[in-house]
Symmetry: C2
Subunit: 365 residues, 2 copies
Amino acid sequence: MFTIDAQQGQARTGTLTVKSGKTITTPFFMPVCTKGTVKMLTSKDLLATSTQAIISNAFILSIRPGLDVIKKFGGIHEFIDWPGISFTDSGGFQMLQPNFLLGVGKRGIHFRNPFDKNKMVFTPEACAVIQEAIGSDVAMILDDVVHYGQEYDRMALAIMRTQAWTKRFLITHTREKQLVFGINQGGTFADLRRKSSQLLAELDIDGYAIGGLGIGESREQMLDMIDVSIEELDPKKPRYLMGVGSPLDIIESVAHGIDIFDSRFPTMNARHGRIFTRKGFLDIKKAKHRDSELPLDENCTCRVCATYSRAFIRHLLTTDERTGHQYTSFHNVFFIQQLMTELQQAIAQGQFDEYRQQFLVEWHQ
Amino acid sequence: MFTIDAQQGQARTGTLTVKSGKTITTPFFMPVCTKGTVKMLTSKDLLATSTQAIISNAFILSIRPGLDVIKKFGGIHEFIDWPGISFTDSGGFQMLQPNFLLGVGKRGIHFRNPFDKNKMVFTPEACAVIQEAIGSDVAMILDDVVHYGQEYDRMALAIMRTQAWTKRFLITHTREKQLVFGINQGGTFADLRRKSSQLLAELDIDGYAIGGLGIGESREQMLDMIDVSIEELDPKKPRYLMGVGSPLDIIESVAHGIDIFDSRFPTMNARHGRIFTRKGFLDIKKAKHRDSELPLDENCTCRVCATYSRAFIRHLLTTDERTGHQYTSFHNVFFIQQLMTELQQAIAQGQFDEYRQQFLVEWHQ
């Protein structure tokens, strides 16, 4: 299911094969498709950015449109027209929202349904059933997600609870057409991250996700936690860093052994006019771009950069025209996918360190 | 510049050639591109709907991004990436908004600039200069637009004022690369419409627009006013009915001799989930479409209908995902452009009456 094709230091490139037989080269990046669409981008747009995998939210889709609808279509791929690989996140992260969460207990996550206001409990068993019904290629096990900055005891409890939930999830899940990834937790406590990995390593699962990072800690702390977490894991299985998607975080995390990423970062920044370029972020709303004939990024080969000027895109964003968001979202996702391709090639050719150094120099110009 | 290739009753199909040499078959429909973009559709999308002409707003573009920016790019086509034909509306219609308008006088339209709050006057001379700078293929002469339902005397004044403004516009306008259309006014007063046409017929202009219809009067009244207005005009010049874009209004207006249309109707309805189909309007937000595997319109060949289900598009609209608006906007514009193509062919083949009858029967099913 996962083969490592080349490795340089901790950085590695490999091939993940899902149960349908589709393959994808690592390291790869997944745009976030919470409700079944990436914001402002169609499924055809995504293919044109070289996106090969997306991640949607199982819990949210189970409420709207509802599992019966997705099942009637034969699964998420058919419902949203996605020919590539799809992951589903359990939805535990969304339940952290205060207008949602009632509390976390042994049974699962207690919350108030945002639509009908009923009290509900989301169990690991339900999480398995929902993701199987949605038919994603990779399901994420329900974890006890904890806010950034919580104290040690709460984090320690989360790990034990997640371990118990993981076992319950795996009993329910039949696994026939779906890979299953477990989630490492532990905040910024090295011993908890290690313990969490030791528990995961005992399980018969297809990959590991590292959760609860990229939410407030420093990059150095994040990389330290990645190092500690992966030490105890089976090195032959893929490692997915959840919710991290800035260019520098991706490069540094690949250097520390990460294979898979997802994040709203490229599309959310795009909607705010924050453009990824080889020379760092560019704020397209700034007055200096008012009459600029340059493309968003002079080094980019995407169809937006081939067609539209900074001046026009700035005009659309400053006059609140959503087509502007389509263009900036397309560019930022294309940029990240181009970066992933280059990282794959650099590792395969034994040039990762040189590539990384050059990217950093250009970025900080 | 305009040739009539076939006529059946008042309905006619012809060829409009603009000064750049580009041609377009009439009757045709222009999506509204007020600020330089059609809402939710990229320039590439528009081409894929078979759109060949768009109309933007000269006054609004002159404020944002500003004429200097558009001039630097060499004109509107280059600035917004539009290879087709472009009309510009003068902007008089926008100034009717109460937060904008200070009053209309002999000199022009007095208004408050919405951005810097300064008092300004928009003159017919400025209107000509701005549209020449924007470089559209067809410029509209500034008219004294009057709200629906105004009394006879105000309408009569508007016609005389528009006539005076038209002459001032034509003195200023050098006309080298740009066609110029004058605007017929008169509300629902037949004698005023006739008078307005008589004044327009004396002028050396390239086409006629009929303004101030489709804003509250009945369809019968609208068609009566079209009949009266075109009687006095040079039949060899193109006739443009401004702001009208529902399928039935288009078909009936073509039957009464209209060659050109523009309207927000298809895109605005699309964003509200009101879908054009051969069997009439379909409200995609209705619960009955929740799990429908059908395309928006079973008779449509557009890429949205070829790809996505009613259930998925309903899901996007009910969960406030803007990609849903992209899909519905694309479909509705494609639908209208398909209708225009069929109208052209029906007239060319002497089948207009049969086509119209059949469309009406299907529409009301």
